[in-house]
Structure formats: structure tokens, C-alpha cells
């Protein structure tokens, strides 16, 4: 797959947008998920994810082709999300129902005439609870946790994406994990 991505990147550098479309297809779910877990809002997540891809396209010439493309892409997306989180900080607490409102859209995606099986409802509630707790984490812990557990990246990759020493990444994941444990222990 890396070989395909490398080939596509060469085509994109020549200006081929169809090749870029293929790259978007490969990474869209992870990038969208990253943005959603960081921002907690579908609309914003889509906006940021699109922005991340557009920035990648515009700056593709500055991408060092010896490195992993996904790392570079994740770095763009993460930085965009962190920026966005900082900007919306003031109204973040007013916006506390965002996670709940998301639940509504999730319910509305299920055909209304079929009753929801209990187990599914429970898992949905659990997902919501987990998402809510992740959103409560401070930015730096949230970023590390999302990259580690949602995107299943290695500590080394995370340290590259965040441009932080491995030790710092570890500490952030430990703290994030501990904070989540305290919130989720009675679920």
C-alpha cells in the first residue's frame, strides 16, 4: 500500500487530482475519525478533515517523500484540530451538549420503525459515554489518546506526528488513560 501511495503522490505532484482522490479514499476514514474524536461534532469534523486534505494537496511539494505520508497527513490534521479546539475554547463549555446532540444524529441514522435491540442501545450509550469522556480530556492528553487508541498508531509514530519526545508522548498517554479510568470506572 505504501508503494501505491508513493506512486500516487508522484502523480499528485505533477498536478493529477484523480490520483489525489485515491489518496483521500485511502485515508478519509481515519482522518475524519481523528477530527471527530478531537472535536466531537460531525459537521466540524468533516470541515476540518476536508481542510486537512486540501492543505496536504496544496503543500504536497513540501512533503519529504522518504517519510511516511500518513504521518505527515496526521500531523496536518492534528494541528488543524488543535488550533480549532483552542479557538473554540471560550464557547466550549456553553457547547457542552454537543456530545448529547451527536447521540441524536446517531439515533436518527437508524430506521425509526425498527426498535433498537437492547444490547445495541447499551453499546451506543457506552460509545457516547466514552466519546464524552474523551472530549473532556485536556487537549494534549486527548490528542495522544485518540492517536493511540482510535488510530492505533505506535508511540513512535505519535511522537513524530506531534513532534514531541517519546517520553512526553508516553506521559500524556498515561495521564490520559488515568483520567479516563477515573471517569469510566463505574460504567
Amino acid at each position: 500500500m505504501d508503494a501505491i501511495v508513493k506512486k500516487r503522490i508522484k502523480q499528485v505532484i505533477k498536478g493529477d487530482q484523480d490520483a489525489f482522490g485515491e489518496i483521500v479514499e485511502i485515508y478519509k476514514n481515519s482522518i475524519y475519525q481523528l477530527c471527530f474524536r478531537m472535536l466531537g461534532n460531525r459537521h466540524e469534523a468533516e470541515d476540518m478533515a476536508q481542510e486537512a486534505f486540501i492543505r496536504a494537496y496544496v503543500n504536497i511539494k513540501s512533503f519529504n517523500q522518504d517519510l511516511k505520508f500518513s504521518t505527515w497527513l496526521f500531523r496536518i490534521a492534528t494541528n488543524l484540530c488543535i488550533d480549532r479546539m483552542r479557538k473554540k475554547k471560550p464557547d466550549y463549555y456553553l457547547d457542552a451538549e454537543v456530545a448529547g446532540a451527536e447521540g441524536l444524529t446517531m439515533y436518527s441514522q437508524i430506521p425509526s420503525n425498527t426498535p433498537l435491540p437492547e444490547s445495541e442501545l447499551e453499546s451506543l450509550q457506552l460509545q457516547e459515554a466514552v466519546q464524552k469522556e474523551i472530549l473532556k480530556l485536556p487537549d494534549k492528553y486527548r490528542t495522544a489518546i485518540v492517536l493511540k487508541y482510535m488510530e492505533e498508531l505506535s508511540l513512535n509514530e505519535i511522537s513524530e506526528i506531534l513532534d514531541l519526545p517519546l517520553g512526553t508522548v508516553k506521559t500524556r498517554i498515561h495521564r490520559g488513560r488515568e483520567a479516563l479510568r477515573q471517569q469510566l470506572r463505574y460504567v
Binding site: G15, F20, E46
Partner: protein, 208 residues
């Protein structure tokens, strides 16, 4: 209260970075300490919860939306892809261009005035005259000039890209051809067809 070091080991374990010796230490401690055991289980449960959040799908049309927001593609790339997708048309148009090119060059090449060599032909300012009362034997060919026939030609007369005047007293035994009109006719049709083709080419990007 358990040593901080044990909690550190738990995290090492969860990061898959624990050494066998450290794991041994951790396991032994967990066996003897209920408090740490439940904390360890909670941590493992938390990780399982976080991992269990279903993987998300990007919304429909995500890729299309991204592509529509990109800056305009270079025209050269578009051409390349078009040629890849329509090899036959590309080959046909290439052939057409070459053919037109060769036509152009032959058209432009023979701009020089020339006339077949017969001794009693008179040449005056790009006009070849068959003088009155003279008889020219053989075919007369005039390129890029006019032919004025006042006498007699025993053979065919061909005027390429010029005009011929046949005086009432003039006489030609063979065929008389004026190629410029035919050329004009061919040329007119080539131009017309090529214009249509160019229009098809020009329309393509909008329908894409």
C-alpha cells in the same frame, strides 16, 4: 498505598513496553494487592472501552467534496488523462494533425513559378503565353502562374494554382485541368472538418 512504581509498570504493560522481568514484578504484586489489581483491571477496561468505539466512516461524497474544493487542475494533466481514456480518438486526432501538417507544407512549398520546357512558349510576368499561330507539342504544365493560350497546344494542359485563358483562336487537343479549384475545394473541406473536430475538442472539458 502501593508504590508509584507499580502503577508505572501497569502503564508500561498497557503500552506493550514491559520487559519480562518487570511483568513478573507486576504480576507478583497484583496477586498480593487487591487495590492494585482492581486499578489494573479498571485501566484495562478503560482501554477496551476506548478501543471499542466503532470505527467511523467519513460521510458520503467526502472525496468528491474535497476534490471540488481543490485549486484548478493543470490543463496538461487533463489532456494526458483524456488521451489515456480515449486512445483511439487520440490516435485519430494525432493522425489528423500530421496529415494536415503535410498538406500545409506541400501547399506552401510549391510557391515558385514553373513551366514545362517547350521551345515556343513565351513567359512574361508569371504568365505563359502560347503565341498566336504557334503550335506547342507535348503537355504543358504551369505551376503558380497563368496560361494564355492564343495558339495551339498538342497535348494536355495543366494549370496548378493559376488561371488559364483560352483565346478564341487558341486550341488544345488534350485535356485542360485547373488544379487550383480542386485544391480550393479540398482545402475548404479540410478546414471545415478540422473546425468541427476542434469544436468537439473544445466542448469536452465542459461536459466532463
Amino acid at each position: 498505598m502501593c508504590p508509584e512504581q507499580i502503577i508505572e509498570l501497569m502503564h508500561e504493560y498497557l503500552d506493550d513496553e514491559i520487559t519480562p522481568e518487570q511483568e513478573q514484578v507486576l504480576r507478583e504484586h497484583l496477586l498480593s494487592c487487591k487495590e492494585c489489581e482492581s486499578l489494573f483491571n479498571e485501566l484495562k477496561k478503560t482501554v477496551a472501552f476506548v478501543k471499542s468505539i466503532s470505527t467511523m466512516q467519513a460521510p458520503d461524497n467526502f472525496t468528491a467534496n474535497v476534490l471540488s474544493r481543490l485549486p484548478k487542475e493543470k490543463r496538461r494533466i487533463w489532456m494526458q488523462r483524456w488521451m489515456k481514456n480515449h486512445p483511439l480518438l487520440a490516435a485519430a486526432s494525432l493522425f489528423f494533425i500530421l496529415m494536415m501538417g503535410s498538406l500545409f507544407s506541400t501547399w506552401n512549398q510549391d510557391k515558385d513559378f514553373s513551366v514545362s520546357k517547350q521551345k515556343n512558349l513565351v513567359v512574361r510576368n508569371n504568365t505563359v503565353i502560347v503565341p498566336k499561330g504557334e503550335t506547342v507539342k507535348g503537355d504543358v504544365i504551369v505551376r503558380n502562374g497563368n496560361l494564355d493560350i492564343e495558339g495551339e497546344v498538342q497535348g494536355d494542359v495543366t494549370v496548378i494554382n493559376g488561371e488559364k485563358y483560352l483565346a478564341s483562336a487558341g486550341h488544345v487537343t488534350g485535356q485542360i485541368d485547373e488544379v487550383n479549384e480542386v485544391f480550393d475545394w479540398i482545402w475548404y473541406h479540410i478546414k471545415k472538418t478540422s473546425q468541427d473536430v476542434v469544436q468537439i475538442f473544445g466542448d469536452q472539458p465542459e461536459t466532463k
